[in-house]
């Protein structure tokens, strides 16, 4: 039965003890279910159904729906509940365009201020990525890849860019599922080598250029996976 995810695996007192609001908890459960593809794009969920499954009032459910709508996971249809948002090629292109612009800018700023110690940390992350790729450890590869990118955002020093990018990335966690099955991700660390080299020279313009190229490669990898999954569905 598809609806397994709705089984309450924590009771209300545990939720309260964990200092999470009901809205956050419901949002988290639903988000996880969508990322893990336990509920599929186009599928409908209603406040009432959720409320009775969880034994909650409709208010926290409605609030969770709204939150997930703003994160791009759901589309709310007045008086009908919500449907899991479909993802299409345009969503992927739009996302990578923005990621390229923001990460490119962050790399430009980071190049001017990055220290030798920080470059050493980037080299370490890139080495770990290569080790994971060699062992076909896709989860480890994805983790180190994301840390590499987040680290550059941190060096840039603009917390808001980090927040905007991670909020966008969150909407695309569904694609991480595809990435983990992709071998072409290994190519990305060659790009990372180039980024590290220009950081050593503190060359902002080149750092921006390589960062944008890296986002373009990411887009190609994801698009290929996405299209092959779409093809298999038919």
């Amino acid at each position: 039965m598809k609806r397994d995810f709705l089984v309450v695996h924590k009771n209300i007192s545990e939720i309260i003890a964990s200092h999470q609001t009901l809205r956050e908890k419901v949002a988290e459960l639903l988000r996880e279910a969508i990322i893990q593809q336990k509920i599929n794009p186009g599928e409908r969920i209603t406040e009432l159904e959720m409320a009775s499954r969880y034994g909650l009032s409709r208010t926290p459910i409605r609030e969770a729906f709204r939150q997930l709508e703003s994160e791009g996971f759901l589309k709310i249809i007045p008086r009908k509940g919500a449907i899991v948002a479909e993802l299409n090629e345009k969503d992927i292109r739009d996302f990578y365009e923005i990621k390229a612009v923001l990460e490119g800018y962050a790399a430009r700023i980071a190049a001017a201020r990055i220290t030798d110690v920080e470059i050493g940390q980037l080299e370490h992350l890139n080495r770990k990525m290569k080790e994971c790729a060699a062992k076909m450890d896709m989860a480890g590869l994805t983790k180190n890849h994301n840390e590499f990118h987040n680290f550059i955002l941190e060096v840039c020093g603009n917390d808001k860019i980090t927040a905007v990018v991670s909020n966008l990335v969150r909407q695309f966690l569904r694609f991480r599922f595809f990435v983990s099955s992709s071998s072409s991700l290994g190519k990305i660390h060659a790009d990372h080598d180039k980024i590290i080299e220009v950081f050593k020279a503190h060359d902002g313009a080149m750092a921006e250029k390589y960062m944008i190229a890296n986002a373009k490669l990411g887009e190609e990898v994801i698009m290929k996976e996405f299209l092959s999954v779409q093809e298999n569905k038919r």
Binding site: T59, D94, E97, Y105
Partner: protein, 229 residues
């Protein structure tokens, strides 16, 4: 607190009540009627406006995700403080994204659009000459919207709109910086020329430089506030 009948205006505007409430509270924060640190009581608002607490609670959640209020356990909802450092960071993002939006818009800009930009630029200069800075800011926003509405990246449009909301908190600061308006109006002339020459890269560069220039002023102001404190 609220003079209009929210429920009625929500119905007549075809706007959901929580959205209407969020607009109202947001506006009160932007113009400074509600000050950073001030408490917002759901119960009091519900009583004054004669509506139930549910739409108010939803509005407050929306404002929390936008960063206008903080919900503190056992204390309730307070208007969140903002620093010029935060707004400097938002401006950097705005610079990147708007410049890129302008680049995407360039091939879609018609002669009519460019003429509209010229007209708005004239109006900007007239507003500055008559020291009507509130009017200037309104026209300035129209100028940017003319190209932000073009181009096909929907997520980008949404992000631009979200950023605009944050930056509104600087309205009072900008009203005291008329020299910035002059700088904007002049740069807008160059941007129009670049659109006219179909030079998307130049448009992008000018928009980015213009906004980063404003960002620097915001950062400087934040620094001098800190030093004086």
């Amino acid at each position: 607190m609220m003079k209009i009948d929210v429920l009625e205006s929500s119905i007549s505007d075809h706007q959901p009540l929580p959205d209407k409430m969020a607009d109202y509270i947001r506006e009160a924060i932007i113009v400074g009627k509600l000050k950073p640190g001030e408490k917002i009581s759901e119960a009091k608002l519900a009583e004054e406006l004669r509506i139930s607490r549910t739409p108010i609670r939803e509005a407050i959640r929306m404002l929390e995700s936008e960063g206008f209020v903080s919900i503190i356990p056992r204390r309730g909802t307070v208007v969140s403080d903002f620093t010029f450092e935060d707004l400097y960071e938002y401006f950097q993002i705005k610079a990147c994204l708007e410049a890129f939006s302008a680049f995407l818009a360039e091939p879609h800009m018609t002669e009519r659009d460019i003429n509209r930009l010229r007209r708005l630029n004239e109006e900007e200069k007239a507003a500055i000459a008559s020291h009507d800075f509130v009017k200037f800011m309104r026209i300035h926003e129209d100028f940017h919207q003319t190209f932000l509405a073009k181009g096909g990246n929907e997520k980008l449009k949404k992000l631009n709109a979200q950023l605009m909301v944050h930056i509104k908190r600087l309205q009072n600061f900008f009203l005291q910086q008329p020299e910035l308006f002059l700088h904007c109006a002049e740069t807008h002339g160059d941007i129009i020329d670049a659109f006219y020459q179909h030079d998307g890269s130049r448009v992008r560069q000018l928009v980015e430089e213009n906004i980063l220039h404003i960002a620097q002023q915001v950062k400087q102001h934040g620094k001098s506030l800190k030093e004086n404190a």
